[in-house]
Amino acid sequence: MDNRLTHLRSERGLSQAALAELLGVSRQTIISIERGRFDPSLPLAFKLAATFETTIEAIFTPDR
């Protein structure tokens, strides 16, 4: 699944570690999501959307 996480995170000046801390997950989880190698669970996707004050669809795009 494609995502705009790296872009959104950089926009807010957050490091991967800081975002991981905010969401209560490991830094490796953020790395894997950003690289599209791990699809987050629905609760985590909602947490991400809430953190960036946007919707899940605005962050993630399903593979076509």
């Binding site: 969401l23 209560g24 997950v25 490991s26 490796q28 989880t29 894997s32 791990f38 669970s41 609760p43």
Partner: protein, 140 residues
């Protein structure tokens, strides 16, 4: 939480671990009467004390912290790797043990057949470890 408070929370587990470790040593000495009794108890106690202490702390005395940690980690990628590696190890274990038994029977290799605990541990843990490391490497 300060270091002293953290250490204090481990005291019950350390004490209970010591009691159990000495009991394990006594049981070993009782089962092996030919060995020096006191030495057997001391060595068994030293070897099992740390493991028992950690197990007691995690499973009995600080269960809430362990549960909270497990709950906190439910969205982590490491959990997904762990589950995938576990599934791979399970399938490989079944197939691998059938192969080990068949090879041992066919070629009459005594250390292959019959299947023992060592085969299960080596194949199961080995596959799990390799699978987890591979997933981790791929995920980075």
């Amino acid at each position: 939480m300060s270091l002293i408070l953290r250490l204090r929370s481990w005291v019950p587990a350390i004490a209970a671990g010591l009691v159990l470790a000495v009991a394990a040593g006594a049981a070993y000495a009782w089962r092996n009467p030919g060995q020096p009794r006191l030495l057997s108890i001391v060595i068994m106690a030293i070897l099992t004390w740390p493991v028992l202490t950690i197990a007691l702390q995690m499973l009995v005395f600080d269960r809430r912290a362990t549960d909270a940690e497990i709950d906190r980690a439910k969205d982590d990628v490491e959990r997904a790797w762990f589950q995938e590696a576990g599934a791979t190890a399970f399938v490989t274990l079944i197939g691998g043990l059938i192969c080990v038994q068949a090879l041992g029977d066919a070629f009459r290799i005594p250390w292959l057949s019959p299947i023992g605990l060592t085969h299960v541990l080596v194949l199961g843990l080995g596959t799990f470890a390799l699978s987890y490391l591979w997933l981790r490497r791929r995920g980075r």
